[in-house]
């Protein structure tokens, strides 16, 4: 990848879209793999000899590692890699699964799962991920036996229960003072010897640490003889405490991640370390304060104990006597990782010295006050990563059947209706029962319930929101297939997949959007040869873009094809008899291209087998408008076409008055209803074919809903008439009987019903009945 020539915006967008697509697929894949790995691990736990399960587990983890390598996810790779090593050992029979190991592996899988979701939502992992990964890796390596060598097994206890480094114990009093009761981040920074030649100035970096509160500058090795001193070989070692968020400190040292170790210490841990240092001074063992801190704060964790016991066993085996050095190294590393000073010298001690050391270390476990130990076990059980299967910070999702959400929505609607009875009750209280006070109180309560029901309604609407990616994901394949079939070279660029809209809108858009894309592929985008003649790139770009615009969602289909020729459109419109030549000639080019939305229009000379299955742009417009949206088409001849669908983000709640007709419920939009009256049939006057009623000196034409719905006439003693305001006209509509007012979520028709005129859609009521909502503009 070279940056020259610079990428065009389209190329950049395409690349970004590719990456986004890749990332989305990785997230999906990882989810599935984790699920499989979890299952395999659980069955392996039930049946430790299940070779199949071990293989499956290994394969899953291996696949995750491979896929993660495509992204900048070093922490995930690090963790998974260590897990893979462990599973490899299990697969080779070098290690057997026990309950604890299963816990640790499950915790690791959970952590990867959490990161996966964070990667999905944030595009990156949290700053502390690497530290956590190291902890897990150390834990896993410890199980492999080579382990304690990793050095930080102790830190693995959990991010919340990290062990303070040994030096923090030595400087506990100073640190506590510097921390001044706040949590601090403790950093040890040992720059590379050659770091000056990489432009580093470790001192400058350290002094600029955010919130630097304490600093100790030392050396990595003792200074050599002055004559042998090399000023350009960095031998400095920094230990510091910073009163700043851990992320800020990690970010500050981001260029030297391998040279630092970083721990966040709570204030009480530091002050605990101080008192530990005091009591530690009395300890017979004479261990440094650090050890006391470790002991005070964290008794040896089970892994350390297990490792020590294993080393003790190893030491006592006759054949192992020659491996004392290895055993000592393990124990020494273990001590270091637990923040315990190594009681022996640097030289190899020998079995007879080593054994008592291990015993003494193991004795620590018993020397911890019983209460503290019990506490630790409880805490370990509750919060150690070993059992950290619950996932507090991660994204928690719940799969809910759509039907249940619909019921909830309908119940909210009913609640709103019930709530609307309260103002009437208040009026009654005042007028019929003469209690003004009660009336006011009811009104107050009404205001509260009104607010809550509104919030409830918004919350439910929110549940129904879904990303357009669910809609878009079908298109890459569609575009690819059509392009192949037509021998066109097309690249589909998808943008704004995370844009959300109501589920109904997303679902209803599938067909029109498919049609628009097909139109672009069929009519807009030229074959490679034609494009070359026009001086265009062989590869056509078809862009599908979604974004939020205020409370609307906008979906654009943009192609760089030949565009729509306004002349051709004019001619076709005349030819089809849609408009006369004179009208067409008066249209501007921009207006002329809009003619494609007219019913019965088709720009292709021959209807291809791919597009135009009787659905034209008029159908696209109809669907979009039914949702209260609009379609805009812009086209420049030779340059391409943009179709822009703009729809409301969420389904507006429509308030309707229900009307029962021959047992079937209908809804009339409430905003059209002026009043409801009951009149005697005689007051309806017949004027030729039409009927009218005079109401308050106004002649109002009458329409009978039964007639319009093709039902047989019905003559009650009193006619129920809805006085409606449709457009500028006032109309009286005779119905069987008035129902109640109701808030509904209007669901437009789709499929074969979509052309059913007279109705704007349906709503499912709380009791399961279906309400047909009348489109009065159409039928009156």
């Amino acid at each position: 990848m070279r940056s020259n020539p610079p990428l065009t915006p389209a190329e950049e967008a395409a690349r970004a879209a590719e990456t986004a697509e890749l990332a989305a697929s990785f997230v999906e894949e990882t989810r599935a793999l984790l699920e499989e790995a979890n299952g395999a691990l659980l069955s392996l736990e039930r049946n430790p000899d299940d070779a199949e399960a071990v293989n499956a587990l290994f394969r899953c983890v291996h696949s995750i590692k491979g896929a993660a390598g495509l992204f900048d996810l070093p922490a995930m790779i690090h963790l998974v890699h260590a897990g893979e090593d462990l599973l490899g050992a299990m697969r080779d029979g070098r290690l057997a699964l026990d309950g604890e190991l299963a816990d640790q592996l499950l915790a690791g899988l959970d952590r990867v799962g959490r990161w996966n979701e964070l990667f999905r939502s944030d595009g990156q992992l949290p700053a502390e991920a690497m530290e956590e990964a190291r902890s897990f890796a150390a834990l896993y390596r410890a199980r492999l036996g080579e382990g304690a060598a990793a050095g930080t097994a102790a830190a693995a206890a959990s991010p919340d229960r990290v062990r303070l480094p040994g030096w923090a114990g030595e400087a506990a009093a100073e640190l506590a003072a510097a921390a001044a009761g706040e949590a601090v981040v403790l950093v040890e920074y040992a720059p590379d010897e050659g770091c000056f030649f990489a432009g580093d100035d470790p001192l400058r970096l350290v002094l600029a640490t955010p919130g630097l509160a304490w600093l100790d500058i030392g050396t990595q090795t003792a200074w050599p003889e002055p004559v042998a001193f090399d000023p350009f070989a960095c031998n400095l070692r920094f230990r510091l405490a910073a009163r700043a968020p851990r992320e800020a400190v990690e970010h500050h040292f981001r260029y030297v991640p391998d040279c630092i170790s970083l721990v966040r210490a709570k204030a009480d841990a530091l002050s605990g370390a101080v008192s530990g240092a005091v009591s530690g001074a009395d300890a017979a063992s004479g261990d440094a304060a650090a050890a006391a801190v470790a002991e005070e704060e964290h008794p040896l964790d089970p892994i350390a104990i297990e490792l020590l016991e294993a080393q003790r066993r190893a030491l006592s085996l006759p054949g192992r006597a020659s491996q004392v050095e290895d055993i000592e190294t393990t124990v020494r590393n273990l001590c270091r990782s637990c923040g315990i000073d190594w009681p022996l010298g640097a030289d190899c001690a020998g079995a007879e010295t080593l054994a008592p050391v291990i015993d003494r270390l193991l004795a620590r476990r018993d020397s911890v006050p019983a209460q503290a130990q019990a506490q630790d076990q409880a805490a370990g059980a509750a919060s150690g990563i070993a059992l950290d299967r619950h996932d507090a910070a991660g994204e928690r999702t719940l799969r809910v059947e759509q039907g249940k959400v619909d019921i909830l929505m309908n119940l909210v609607g009913e609640l709103v209706v019930a709530k609307n009875a309260l103002p009437f009750l208040a009026r009654d209280a005042e007028l019929r029962f003469g209690s003004r006070e009660l009336s006011r109180e009811i009104k107050d309560k009404y205001a509260v319930i009104d607010r809550i029901s509104r919030q409830l309604q918004n919350a439910v609407m929110d549940i129904r929101m879904m990303p357009v990616s669910d809609l878009f994901k079908r298109f890459p394949r569609l575009v690819r297939d059509i392009a192949r079939k037509q021998d066109k070279k097309v690249r589909l660029v998808i943008e704004g997949e995370t844009t959300e809209a109501d589920k109904n809108i997303i679902e209803a858009l599938a067909e029109p959007l498919t049609h628009v894309l097909r139109n672009s592929l069929d009519h807009g985008i030229e074959k490679a040869g034609e494009r070359a003649l026009a001086g265009k790139d062989d590869l056509a770009t078809l862009k599908l873009r979604a974004f939020q615009d205020g409370d609307c969602v906008v979906i654009e289909v943009i192609d760089d094809g030949r565009g729509i020729d306004p002349g051709k459109v004019r001619a076709k419109a005349v030819e089809r008899g849609l408009l006369d030549a004179e009208r067409v000639a008066q249209l501007s080019d921009a207006q002329a291209v809009q003619l494609v939305f007219l019913p019965g229009f088709s720009t292709a000379d021959a209807v291809s087998d791919l597009s135009g299955r009787g659905v034209g742009m008029d159908a696209v417009r109809a669907v979009v408008e039914r949702f209260g949206g609009n379609v805009v088409l812009e086209s420049r001849s030779g340059e391409g076409t943009t179709v822009r669908l703009k729809l409301p983000l969420s389904m507006a709640v429509t308030r309707v008055l229900t009307v029962e007709m021959a047992g079937q419920l209908y809804g009339v939009p409430m905003d059209l209803v002026v009043e409801t009256v009951r009149i005697s049939p005689q007051s309806i006057r017949r004027l030729k074919a039409s009927e009218a009623v005079v109401l308050r000196d106004q002649v109002i034409p009458i329409a009978r809903l039964r007639d319009m719905l093709g039902m047989e006439a019905h003559r009650p003693a009193l006619e129920s008439v809805l006085i409606l305001r449709v457009g500028n006209a006032t109309v009286g509509m005779v119905i069987d009987d008035f129902g109640t007012g109701m808030d509904i979520i209007l669901k437009p028709f789709s499929g074969i019903l979509s052309n059913l005129s007279g109705f704007s859609g349906t709503a499912v009521l709380g009791d399961g009945r279906v309400l047909l909502v009348l489109n009065l503009k159409e039928i009156l």
Binding site: M1, R2, S3, N4, P6, F71, D72, P74, F196, F197, A198, G199, D200, D201, R204, L205, A208, R254, Y255
Partner: protein, 123 residues
């Protein structure tokens, strides 16, 4: 005045970084290729910081860094690499070639200045 050398084969990026840095009071030494950068330094230029693109024609950023580390005046100079690559390998490769740090493109003025401030003593 502290001087920052910027090396990038995109005139746009050079221009945008120059304006950001100049507005913040830094002297700017521009080079549109690795070769050009070395040539300019032959003349004795002594930047306080070098910011170089990773992907350039002919001499890429990593090769440039290796060369800069051989020049007396840039042996210890902090060198920041501009990268679009998210790959960790490249960063590690650059680091072992002598890069001090990196900024991920597209460069935000705030990030750029923060890094420059961190890297240039006395700025």
């Amino acid at each position: 005045m502290k001087t920052v050398m910027i090396v990038d084969d995109s005139p746009t990026i050079l221009m945008s970084m120059e304006s950001i840095l100049a507005r913040a009071g830094y002297g700017v030494l521009k080079a549109d290729s690795g070769e050009n950068a070395l040539q300019k330094l032959q003349g004795g230029g002594r930047p306080n910081l070098v910011i170089t693109d990773l992907n350039m024609q002919a001499m890429n950023g990593i090769d440039l860094i290796r060369n800069l580390r051989q020049l007396p005046q840039t042996r210890f100079t902090p060198i920041i690499m501009l990268t679009t690559e998210s790959s960790l390998d490249k960063r590690q490769e650059a680091r072992s070639a002598g890069a001090t740090g990196w900024i991920v493109k597209p460069v935000q003025p705030g990030d750029l200045l923060a890094v420059v401030k961190q890297m240039v003593p006395g700025s």
